[in-house]
Each structure stands twice: as C-alpha cells, then as structure tokens.
Symmetry: C2
Subunit: 420 residues, 2 copies
C-alpha cells in the first residue's frame, strides 16, 4: 500500500495545517501588497532547459526533472526566478517598468532525503525589475521587515545580514582572479559557514586561487562592519559606496535595527550581481529564513536584453519552525460561526431556511445533515469552534421560534427567524 502514502518528501495539508498555511500566505500577500506589489503565477512544470542553461549550480543536480510522453525534458520548478524571466522576456518591451511582482509558488527538488528537508516547499518570491538603484533593494528589505513585524517577530529575534557581490568581486579583482572563476568561487564561499577554514582553503585552492587570494577572501568575509570593509577595499570602493547608500536609505525607512553587514553573505546562486542578503534567527539555530539580492545580468543568460532586477525568496518551512520555537504560531479556529441543527427530520426545511438567512448575512454556517442527538450537535459545534448553536426544536418552532445557544457563555434565547 505504499501507493497509498504521499510521495516521499511531500506534505498533505489537513484543515488545521491549511489554516496555518493560509494565515502565513495572507501575511506574505499583505506585506507585498502594502508595498504596491502585484501577484503573478507560472506553471509548476517548465522545460528543463530553463534551468540547465545556467549550468554549474547545485540546483541543476537536484532538479526534479523527467521526460514527458512526447519525449521532452521537463522539470518541476526548483525556483521561481527563471519562470519570471521567461514571462518578462515573452512580453519584452510591452510591460511598463518597473515591475513590482510577487508570487507564492510551490518549488521542488529531488535529492536524498535529509531530516527536515522536504522535496517541495512554498516560496514567497518578491521582485523588482527595471529599477537599477539601491532604493529597490531597500524597498525589498522594507517588505521583509513589514512581514516580520506582522507576524510578531522583532529585530532582537531576526536579523538581516547584508553584503554585496561587489565585495567579493573587488577582492578577487585585487588578487588577480579572472571574472570567469567568480561564480564558482561564490558557490564555494556560500558554504564556508559549514566548512573548517582549512577545508574551505582547500576547496578554493582547487578552483585555482593562490594562498594570498584565499587569505584575503577569508579575511574580508570575516568582516562585520562597513568601516573596516572600507579600510580593506579602499576609499574608492564601489562595493562600500553601494552598501553605505543602502544603509542610509534603510535609515530613512527606520530599518537599520534589523540589518547587519556580514562579509560572508554571498548567496549560492551564480546570477547575483549586487547587494545580497539573508534573514536569520538571531539565536543561529535554524537555516536562513530567506535570501535574495540583485541579479542585473540574468536576462542576457537567456539570450535577452538585460534589465536591472532584485528580489528575494522566502520559504514556508523555516519561518514556521521559528514562529513555533518562539511560541508565536496563532491559534486558528475553523471558519464556522454557527451550527444549525434540526432535532427531527421534519424540521430540516426550517433549518435550511435559518441557515440560508444566516449565510445571506455572510455568516459561515454548518448545517447538520444527519439525524443526530442534541448531545452530538453540542460536541460537534464545540469541535468546530462555532460561536452559536441554532436549534430547531418542535415546541419552539410551533411558536415560530429558534433556540439560540451562545457556546462560550452557555446563554440561551429564543428568537424569531426575522430577528436572527
């Protein structure tokens, strides 16, 4: 009966879990919409080449790809950005810029199962295309902080570590490492936190970096304030100027409490070109809550004309772990407000009439469809988290009355249907 289990690494959402997911998504949506972002979506299935053309990344090895019945290579999307690029390219020139769009796609990967890592997750994606300034990057940080604020997380609990790909770029330039090694170095550097310094040095050495380059990278990546970075990269550093400008704007939004400069943040995807960031719980127990950055040269990798672009992806799993750890998950009752119950089948038309009246007022009404005892109906109403039980009982209904029981207080009254 293994076919009666879900596919390994996938989740079912029973109503309890669905309520939590809907609650989370509603805050994703609200934070984005308050900042003027519009929702879009793309199919979960794409041509595999959409991902493999940007070769050399972990994401390709973990593609949930397959051949369809027509012999085409297709894949369940591992991330949303390539679909977004495809959509923008399909309407190249026709979309008014800037684009401020968000989406909450389900993304897939195929890899050996690890504890706490599924094969699918939902990922809130928020992107701005067509806006070259650091203002756009700060706007994304504002969306992010507004989300944290909405779900009750404070800067003391969650921090956003910010750097720029330009920091690493300038370091590599200064030690004479050619541009083509850059992406490969970024991918190794992204994993440095998990490696011992010697292992890291060995991996960077394999990419052709000499000891001076490796030492310089390791030193700069260890920096945590902009002034020291400025001293290391020099007064005319574009990276430093960009980050200072980002901080000044973040100040204008009142966001700096959330931010810290962290030279080790480079992000794993090859396509980033400017500011990059990750949000982490301050206790450091969990994986990154979200990550993103600027990727101004993505479209040319698809053969299109580049557009400045910046965005982030924010999975649904780590944030729920974090909120759970902090005791911040809401208690979400079902949506049923009234349970309507007829004590005998003859009263069912009357019960339907009462249910219809309440629904016309916008109330969520569960009508009991089976012959049950009053005791069952009370238990059922309680389990639903309903506010009231409306009872159609022979004696009361003869007098044209409905019995209304407030389930919190236990108070009962008798009401004519018109007054419900």
């Amino acid at each position: 009966m293994s076919d009666l289990q879900g596919v390994r690494g996938t989740r079912d959402f029973y109503p309890d879990e669905m309520r939590l997911r809907s609650w989370l998504f509603s805050h994703f949506r609200a934070a984005a919409q308050l900042h003027g972002f519009e929702e879009y979506d793309a199919p979960v299935l794409e041509h595999e080449a959409l991902y493999t053309r940007k070769a050399g990344e972990d994401i390709v090895g973990q593609l949930y790809g397959f051949e369809d019945k027509g012999g085409r290579r297709v894949a369940l999307r591992p991330e949303m950005t390539p679909s977004l690029a495809r959509m923008v390219l399909a309407r190249a020139g026709a979309l008014p810029l800037p684009i401020k769009w968000f989406s909450i796609p389900q993304c897939w990967r195929y890899e050996r199962m690890q504890r706490g890592r599924g094969r699918e997750h939902y990922q809130w994606n928020v992107d701005i295309w067509g806006s070259a300034g650091v203002e756009a990057d700060v706007e994304l940080l504002a969306v992010l902080c507004s989300f944290f604020d909405r779900v009750g997380l404070a800067p003391a609990e969650v921090g956003i570590r910010v750097s720029s790909r330009k920091v690493l770029q300038e370091v590599l330039d200064s030690v004479g490492v050619a541009g083509e090694q850059f992406a490969a170095v970024c991918i190794v550097v992204d994993k440095l936190g998990k490696l011992l310094p010697d292992e890291a040095a060995a991996q960077l050495g394999k990419l052709g970096l000499d000891n001076t380059a490796i030492a310089t990278i390791q030193r700069v990546l260890g920096l945590h304030d902009l002034d020291t970075l400025a001293a290391a990269l020099g007064d005319d550093s574009g990276a430093v100027a960009e980050l200072r400008s980002l901080w000044a704007l973040a100040e204008g939004y009142g966001l700096t409490e959330w931010l810290e400069f962290d030279g080790s943040i480079v992000r794993g995807l090859a396509y980033y070109t400017g500011p990059v960031f990750e949000a982490h719980d301050r206790s450091g127990e969990l994986r990154a809550v979200c990550g993103g950055g600027r990727y101004d040269r993505l479209l040319s990798s698809f053969g299109g004309k580049d557009l400045p672009a910046t965005g982030f992806g924010f999975g649904d799993m780590v944030i729920l772990e974090l909120l759970k750890d902090r005791g911040r998950l809401p208690q979400l009752a079902g949506s049923v407000q009234d349970v309507v119950f007829a004590l005998n089948p003859e009263l069912r038309p009357a019960a339907m009439d009462v249910a219809g009246r309440l629904r016309a007022q916008g109330r969520s009404v569960d009508l009991v469809l089976e012959e049950k005892r009053l005791k069952w109906a009370l238990k059922h109403a309680d389990r639903c988290g309903a506010e009231r039980l409306l009872l159609l009982a022979p004696k009361e209904w003869e007098r044209g009355l409905v019995k209304v029981r407030n389930l919190a207080s236990g108070a009962e009254s008798e009401v004519v249907p018109d007054a419900l």
Copy 2:
C-alpha cells in the same frame, strides 16, 4: 528558444490574469466557507498507482505520469478525489465525521492538444464524507448555487441537470445486465450526447448489451421529468424515491429553479453510486461548467472501509468563458491606492516616511524608486489605478507639507504628514 516558452498547454498568470483568478477563487472559497467547509490541500505529485488501480477510465490514458530519478512511477494529479481518499485513509477513524472539505488544486492531463483544452486547469473540489443521506447532496447543490449567485449568474443562465446512477442501475437490472458491466456502460453513456443513436447502440452492443437493453437505456436516458421516470421504473423504484427526496429538500433551500431532472446525466467516472449532476449554461454552447455526485464505494477500491461520500469538481476555465460571454467578468484594478513620489533624491527619506505612515494605516502604497519626472509619475499612478498621488516637492516640504492629488477629480491639497 523553445525552452523560453512555457510547457505546451500551461498558462502563465500575469497580474491582470492573476487578479481574475484570485477573484474567482475568492468566490469559490466564500461559497464553500459560508456552508461550513474547510480548505485542505495535497501535493500535485502522487504515486501513479493511486490512479491506475481504478482501471479502465479515460483519465488513466491521459495521465501526466513519469518515472522519477529513483525509478518510481509518479504522476501530476489528474483529479483531487484520489488524494482526498488517501488523506482520509491515512487518518482512518481519527477524523471526526462528517468531513466537509474543499480545495482548489491544479490538475493535469497529458493528451493531444485540442482547441480550448489545456494540459492543466484549477478545479474547485467540494466534498462531504461520512454523510449518507441525500441532504448532503443537496448541501453541495446549495454551495454551487450560492457560488453562481455570487458571480451574478441566474437560474435562467445556468441549469443543474440531476439524475442518479441508480436510474441506470435499475434499468440494467431490469434487462438482466450483470453488475460488472455497469461501470463500462456508464462511461459509454456519458458520451452519448456526442454520438448518433446508431453509433451509441453499436458501442453498447460491443459491451454485450442486447437490443432490448439498449432500447430501454436510450428511452430512459431521454426522460426529463420525474413522473415519467416513475412510470418507467415502477412505484417501488429506489432511484425515483431518492430523486424525489432530493427535490423536496432542494425546495426547502429554494434551489429548484436551478435544477432539472435529466436521465442522460451519468458522469464519466466509474466510482459514482447515487445522485449525479452537471451544471451547464442554458444556451448549451459550452462544455459542462462542473459535475459531481455520490461515490459511496470509493474507499473499498483502495482497500479501505467504505464511507458515504459526495462531491463535485468545478474547473476554472469554462466558468470564465461563460462569464466572459455574458459580460459578467469584473473590471479589476490593481491593489495600489497611493503612489508616493519624491521630486528629487534628497526628498526620498521624506517619501519613505510618508509611504510608511500610509502603509501603517493599511493602505497599499507604491513608492517611486527611480528619478523620474512628475509627468511620468502621473502616468504611472494612472496606470496603477491609484486613487492618489502624494508628492514630495522642495517648496512644500520646506513648509512641512505633502502635496496630495486626487487622481479621479484632479483636486489637490497640501497636508502635514500627521494628518495623512
């Protein structure tokens, strides 16, 4: 660049299309929630055996199935009911009954492309499990009519054709056709509308039915009122009693205007056992808007203990065609209410402050992130469908004022930030 197109038969949802989808889904949700249904979800990917174990149906030939990297046969779900059955079985006994659940899954099929038939669609699924009476079937019809009502469709435009699998069952019993042929006959009968009577007779003949059986089936399927059906099936017909009881309850809900008995409705899936229905536009131009019915013996086909169950599926494509034809599609503006624009970069922190204040009030604010001219900002605000443009201009800001332009009336005022 074919990899830069979406997979054939799939849709992208740009913000315009996404707004329409969200509008449709919001009415799906509201109609279900008003009737006390709770949302659930399951992964789009399932083991292929979940579908192939109920063999002999069109849906299997059209499965979007494939082998994953671990050599397992998996499929993109063609319909939601098997996933629902899997979820219920996984918690067999632990779920309080009845279950009233709904979902809006994306469903997939792989077939030769036809005009207007994609390879994916979204399908609103509404189901009641654990409730054996026709009350549950009527409750589903109430959800359906409540949805039609919400989107502005009247009984004169949309009708729900109702019958019961028991009608065909009794006809076959009466002509001595054995039970095992029943499912196969249903699948042919479901297509009768597309066949000439002679072709239909030939197909039924191939299933082993004799001429008397075929003539009886064709006659009863042509019936359109319950009294004639009662005359054909006899006074003690369970099918007639069930349908009369359904109509009486529908009367209690005031739904009978929407309903018509139609002996030809049997539905294509083998698993239905009782009342079945389809909604159609009355003009008859489009395919069925939705369809459903009772399927009390599904769980035993999965090796579980049966539970009474009834439900319907309602695709997103035909209803949107219908609403478009009837001129009932809403004009949906973007969500942006205010555009905030700083006339020069020095005023950006002030613009951020203003944007932040408005967002704290719950307003959707698009902050202009680029250096632009006022003319551009006005055009942009108009394109967004915003209500107001809030302008940070040097002279006004020196006096601590923000210029507020009402975009509908053109009226302008100057306001201190605290009064925004």
